[in-house]
């Protein structure tokens, strides 16, 4: 790399992650934000997360590594989403942006209203904005048509966008009319240290197939209902462990009764994220039956635990693992049964430890953070534009929608200036950065190298 790049690398950003979905909930988006933030902190950037209040968890909290989280006191009203008030969160977002001296705002997930609102205000205030799309949406039903218009509005003026798989990128480009060059593909990763295979290999006398997913239509619970009895009939030495809860659990229980498979199909109910590994390592094969999936982190976790994966060929799943680590099937019961039979014949060649080591090379959150850093650098290099130039971009979003979008933005602009008068930016106190003990340890190491006793004393004071 040239000198210019190294200069850029020295430049540390202040990043604000915005999404409705964050800890204490668990899921793909939540994990992504958490691990990405941790690794960005490790790279020396400053990261602040904004999400809505979860129950009594409201206000400012600190997480591992000094990750500052603002739980803004807005209650979720539907599917963990805050009510889309358009302008309601402008004051608090503005205050946070100024207090934390943010220079990049990074929103996550299409379905998060908080993210859309925050990105809109950040754009009008002239911040550089990055958006990550974690899911796929169709084009046919009225719900997704509406969602796609909202996404088009948010992405009309976004600096850069990130998708988690190539399929997701194609989908996002089609939905939002964004230039493909502006969309980066940076997949999720897996914390391989957390998902290690069992110390001793599970016995081969009995083959255990693990399913961990919410038992809902979109995750293909109906496919499981068809596949499990057939596999049990063909392979008498197979057992199933199904973790997860949802509306389709009753159907699975009915299936178990109907085919009298009580001793061969375990329904565990909801599995806390901390126990996912212990469920995974008791099995040989991981079965994913999703009907739609942008990336599928569960497959990574299973592969990292050394399980051979059988999955439906939907969305971004075919891109996730090399062909010899996954068996793909069409979302059709007979094809899935064939795939499972193939996986069972492949099993003797699979060594969990080898699989785990390969996963460590294929995926790491540090790699994800480094690639995201490049996107941030690109976003910062984007030229600033005045309001009029930006409005023209919104205007091109559609005959009617374009004009409405423009009005929304103009109103946001006026509100922002009103706020500037009411509470000038200079009056907002800047938050001091947290100096972490880990940084101090590094500092101490540096000091020791310099062999300066006075410095050493200072650093030990701060601990």
């Amino acid at each position: 790399m040239g000198g210019r790049d190294s200069a850029l690398q020295n430049q540390k950003h202040s990043i604000l992650m915005v999404s409705d979905f964050f800890y204490p909930n668990f899921g793909g988006v939540e994990n992504h934000i958490y691990y990405l933030s941790q690794c960005l902190l490790n790279l020396g950037h400053k990261v602040v997360v904004v999400t809505h209040a979860y129950g009594k968890r409201s206000g400012v909290r600190y997480m591992t590594g000094g990750l500052k989280v603002y739980y803004i006191p807005w209650r979720p009203f539907f599917n963990q989403n805050t009510f889309p008030t358009l302008y309601g969160i402008l004051p608090i977002i503005r205050t946070i942006l100024i207090r934390e001296r943010i220079n990049i705002v990074h929103g996550h997930q299409t379905f998060s209203t908080l993210c859309h609102n925050a990105l809109m205000h950040a754009r009008i205030m002239g911040y550089k904005v990055v958006f990550t799309d974690h899911s796929l949406t169709g084009f046919a039903d009225s719900g997704s048509i509406h969602m796609n218009k909202v996404l088009q509005f948010t992405l009309a003026d976004v600096s850069q966008a990130i998708c988690v798989s190539h399929t997701s990128k194609e989908n996002t480009v089609l939905r939002s009319d964004l230039a493909p060059e502006k969309v980066f593909v940076i997949p999720n990763a897996v914390d391989t240290a957390m998902f290690k295979p069992a110390l001793e290999r599970p016995s081969r006398t009995e083959i255990i197939i693990v399913v961990i997913s919410r038992l809902v239509y979109r995750k293909g619970a109906d496919l499981l209902v068809e596949v499990i009895p057939e596999v049990c009939r063909l392979h008498p030495n197979v057992r199933f462990i199904v973790g997860g809860d949802g509306s389709k659990r009753v159907r699975l229980e009915e299936m178990r009764e109907k085919h009298s498979l009580q001793d061969r199909v375990d329904l565990l109910g909801a599995v806390p994220h901390a126990q996912v590994r212990s469920v995974l390592i008791s099995g040989h094969i991981f079965l994913n039956s999703s009907l739609t999936e942008a990336f599928c982190m569960a497959i990574l976790e299973a592969a990292s635990c050394g399980l051979l994966t059988v999955s439906t060929r939907v969305g971004g799943v075919p891109e996730v693992l090399p062909d010899d680590m996954i068996v793909l099937a069409e979302p059709d019961p007979s094809d899935m049964v064939k795939a499972i039979s193939k996986a069972i014949t492949m099993l003797p060649k699979i060594d969990p430890q080898v699989m785990h080591n390969r996963m460590r090379e294929l995926y790491s959150w540090h790699d994800v953070a480094k690639r995201t850093e490049i996107v941030y650098d690109r976003a910062l290099k984007c030229s600033d534009q005045n309001l009029l130039e930006r409005l023209s971009r919104y205007l091109s979003c559609g005959a009617w929608a374009g004009k409405i979008f423009c009005l929304v933005m103009i109103f946001s602009f006026m509100l922002w200036h009103l706020l500037e008068l009411w509470e000038p930016a200079d009056d907002i106190e800047e938050a001091p950065d947290l100096i972490l003990s880990r940084n101090c340890v590094e500092l101490e190491r540096c000091c020791r190298k310099l062999n300066n006793p006075e410095n050493q004393k200072n650093s030990s004071d701060t601990i």
Binding site: G138, L174, P180, P187, E226, V314, E319, P322, L362
Partner: protein, 300 residues
């Protein structure tokens, strides 16, 4: 990037998410494989103008049926039709409808016939018992309001009516009717009750209610059976019905005639042409990102 200038051929870009950043390619790399899985307008059917026009005939047929009912209402309210002739119309409609059902349906059995007869007699007795209540139902409301409400209910009825099949099903059909078509049937029943409540005698009320309900509940079933039996019969029946209605309306009122005629032209000529024209704006996108459809039925 650095790798792009070096002499050995750089590795081919692959559409995979694993293995970190691919050497020599940025994360926003886009090549000709981008969107290659996209399929456009996969399930779009080419429509034929003549076919759409013929299909729209069933809509104008039903419009004419409703217009005929309204004609009978107005004649009864202006005392041009007395109760005896109304009852005669009722009976002839009932018998002809019955005959059409029997001839067009394949299964012609005594038990089905009995089943029909029993139901219809229950229906008629109930209606006769309730007639005095209907007669005095809206006495305190002015006729203008009743006409206004009736017209809006009929518009609602026509708007929500299930033109593709019949809301009242032949026995043995499993599929439940949609909510909108149920609302439509109810709107028409309420409209007939309102009109009946303006009539002078109990027999009048009974006769007009029987007539309206026969038409609103069973005419869709009868026309559906005719259409299923033979499309040409359906076409002849519809066209003669249209001619009949137009001539009656012409006698009643010129402006209404012009309105009805233009409505029929709109439904049968303008709308099909319009549909064909806007077909070219149809734009469907499918691709690997679509949610997979299950190939079997879920029996919940």
């Amino acid at each position: 990037m650095v790798g792009s200038n070096s002499s050995p051929p750089r590795p081919k870009w692959r559409k995979v998410a694993y293995g970190g950043m691919q050497p020599g390619y940025d994360d926003n790399h886009t090549d000709e494989t981008f969107l290659e899985g996209m399929v456009m307008n996969a399930s779009v059917v080419k429509r034929d103008m003549l076919k759409v026009m013929l299909d729209s005939v069933s809509i104008s047929e039903y419009l004419c049926i409703v217009a005929l009912v309204v004609l009978v209402w107005t004649y009864t309210l202006s005392s041009a039709l007395d109760e005896n002739s109304l009852l005669l119309i009722d009976i002839s409609l009932l018998v002809s409808g019955f005959l059409i059902l029997l001839f067009t349906q394949d299964m012609l059995s005594l038990s089905l016939l009995l089943h029909y007869a029993l139901n219809i007699s229950f229906f008629i007795i109930g209606l006769y018992v309730l007639a005095p209540i209907y007669q005095t139902l809206t006495r305190s409301i002015s006729s203008d309001s009743i006409w206004a409400v009736t017209v809006s209910l009929l518009v609602l009825h026509l708007f929500l009516h299930d033109y593709s099949e019949s809301t009242v099903k032949a026995p043995g059909v499993l599929k439940n009717p949609a909510l909108t078509s149920c609302i439509s049937v109810n709107a028409s029943v309420v409209a007939s009750v309102f009109i009946a409540s303006r009539l002078p005698s109990r027999l009048h009320v009974f006769a007009i209610m029987l007539f309206s309900l026969q038409v609103f509940l069973f005419a869709p079933l009868v026309t559906y059976c005719i259409k299923k039996y033979s499309f040409w019969l359906h076409l002849c029946f519809s066209i003669s019905l249209m001619a009949l209605t137009l001539s009656f309306v012409f006698v009643l009122h010129r402006l209404l005639f012009v309105l009805l005629l233009s409505l029929l032209v709109f439904v049968n000529l303008v709308c099909p042409y319009w549909l064909i024209r806007i077909q070219e704006y149809k734009f469907e996108i499918n691709g690997p990102w679509d949610e997979a459809k299950l190939c079997f039925d879920i029996t919940d």
